[in-house]
């Protein structure tokens, strides 16, 4: 039996660690909120500011979840419904009108949802298994099976599972770490509770 070692939920203007609120902000929007958390945490990672919003969200959730964890064989399984559509729309705007055609590589590179995985891998030095799944809602049962497959087959020592949603200013991240022991048993009941 595996365990959920830690979980992070990012909701509108608030961040929770294992269910306890650790950051709360006034209603200033996503960018200002993330900037504040970045500063309060004393992060020195200028690449953060180049990221699109989906990556910023995934980065911050993973940073809080993996803080102090020295394991490098952590698989990353992320999921959302809209893939990278928030940034896709921005790229489309740069090519929609022939008179104002100006596609940019710094936007285009974020038109793939798995760039979130790349950013987390770089930040934490994780040369590990990963996958990005698109689904209407968090595929709890499949995530549970896939995470346990990776652990049982020794393809990973720990597994980070996460839902990462960013679209038109609305956002939500539910990240949890599956480990050999920890806070909660790795059951559907607990996964559903964390990601509900």
């Amino acid at each position: 039996m595996y365990a959920i070692n830690k979980f992070i939920n990012i909701r509108k203007d608030a961040i929770f660690e294992n269910g306890t609120c650790v950051y709360q902000n006034e209603d200033e929007g996503f960018s200002a909120f993330m900037k504040k958390v970045y500063k309060e945490r004393g992060l020195a990672y200028p690449k953060f500011y180049k990221m699109d919003d989906l990556c910023k969200l995934a980065f911050m959730a993973a940073d809080l979840l993996l803080e102090g964890d020295n394991e490098k064989d952590i698989a990353l399984l992320l999921s959302n419904r809209e893939a990278s559509l928030d940034t896709d729309l921005k790229h489309q705007q740069t090519i929609q009108d022939a008179a104002a055609y100006f596609p940019s590589p710094s936007v285009f590179v974020y038109t793939l949802p798995n760039i979130t995985i790349g950013e987390i891998s770089i930040r934490h030095g994780l040369k590990s298994e990963s996958a990005f799944f698109i689904a209407d809602r968090f595929p709890a049962e499949r995530m549970q099976q896939y995470a346990e497959y990776l652990l049982n087959s020794q393809k990973a020592q720990k597994v980070l599972c996460g839902w990462v949603h960013f679209m038109n200013g609305e956002y939500r991240a539910d990240f949890y770490l599956v480990d050999s022991r920890g806070l909660l048993t790795h059951t559907m009941e607990h996964i559903n509770e964390i990601t509900k």
Partner: protein, 370 residues
């Protein structure tokens, strides 16, 4: 548990059918030609499926269907494979795509641009009794989708799977690759000294995957997908993620570098990708193994490429036939590779399929013929 690839079907500019496509590449035919995209982009070398030919073919599948072109591509790829193998209570559809119906954004149809919409439509069309799995992991998606199917069958999560992969040639993607200056202004030349970048393409490919051991099944003996943790848009100079993927795939398959008869590599024909692969293959000790890239025939079909190339690698195994790496003339990587120059009959038992992509992703899969 052993999991196999069985029946397959390919929809590409080179034909509709796995055998048609395999015969085309053996005979050296390419789908790459100048394609006019739109006024902003102009013409580029790319591999596009002709609309009239596709529509005519689709008439014989479902003349009444009114959906999008990308749905037609998926249905065309899946129909013959599904007709042979059917759907059980616990059969799953695994879709691989990077951009799905991204063309819908041109018409301000955000709803149709959701990949979940596309997956659900196809799932409903064929009457799957389970929710679809969708893998969107840049250019390794196709190989990863096969792995996801294999892994879920191994865990007992599903009994069997249809893996289907698709991406369309779109102004969205062409404009992006152009902004990266990653596009070649001539037919692409993977691993060649004169290579200057990618040609894009489009395809839809389907494969039936199960634990049933049939005489013509191809075993997915080992696979891994390890991130470079190095750069979001450039490959690692050391090929670390690809090397680790290869080593882990070998380990799971219980084989060594010497057992591999052929490598179906990624070979996008960008300077950095091909160089990275050469470095990784050397470090893995497989630099002597005959290797090709099929991008010279199909262009880079993104989320379809991994499955397209795996299916054709399986055909190479079954037919004991190595396919030439089209566009290659002279060595263009610092570490030499054994690039296949012309089609060659050779006894083949084991093949390594690799892929790499944006986000630092890498995939390796060992296929063994029954």
């Amino acid at each position: 548990m052993a999991v196999y690839i069985h029946d397959t079907h390919i929809i590409s500019p080179l034909g509709f059918g796995t055998r048609e496509n395999f015969e085309a590449v053996v005979s050296g035919k390419t789908g790459i030609a100048p394609v006019f995209m739109n006024d902003s982009i102009g013409s580029v070398y790319a591999a596009r499926i002709n609309d009239e030919v596709l529509d005519r073919y689709f008439q014989s599948i479902d003349a009444m269907f009114k959906g999008s072109r990308i749905e037609k591509l998926l249905i065309a790829a899946l129909t013959p494979v599904m007709a042979k193998n059917g759907i059980k209570e616990n059969t799953v559809l695994v879709l691989s795509t990077t951009k799905g119906n991204i063309k819908a954004l041109e018409n301000h149809d955000l709803h149709s641009a959701f990949i979940t919409q596309l997956a659900q439509h196809i799932n409903n069309y064929f009457g799957f009794k389970t929710e679809p799995l969708v893998v969107s992991n840049a250019c390794v998606s196709g190989v990863m989708a096969l792995s996801v199917a294999k892994r879920f069958i191994e865990t007992g999560g599903f009994s069997d799977a249809y893996v289907v992969a698709v991406d369309e040639l779109s102004p969205f993607v062409v404009s992006g690759f152009q902004s990266f200056q990653a596009m070649s202004s001539e037919p692409c030349r993977p691993y060649d000294a004169q290579r200057s970048g990618v040609n894009l393409g489009e395809a839809a490919v389907a494969a039936y995957v199960s634990a049933e051991n049939r005489p013509d099944g191809v075993l997915m003996a080992g696979e891994a997908h390890i991130n470079d943790a190095n750069h979001i848009s450039g490959p690692s100079r050391t090929g670390e993620g690809l090397l680790l993927s290869i080593e882990k795939a070998f380990k799971e398959a219980g084989i060594t570098a010497r057992d591999i008869d052929y490598i179906s590599a990624h070979g996008t024909a960008t300077l950095f990708n091909d160089e990275m692969e050469a470095v990784a293959f050397h470090r893995a000790g497989i630099q002597q193994v005959p290797v090709n890239s099929l991008k010279g025939y199909f262009g880079h079909t993104l989320g379809a490429s991994g499955l397209l190339e795996t299916v054709l690698a399986a055909e190479s195994l079954k037919n004991n036939m190595l396919v030439a790496s089209l566009g290659y003339e002279s060595p263009g990587t610092t570490q030499p590779l054994n690039i296949i120059m012309k089609p060659e009959k050779r006894l083949l038992k084991m093949v390594l399929k690799t892929a790499s992509g944006f986000g630092g992703s890498n995939s390796a899969m060992v296929l063994i013929k029954n």
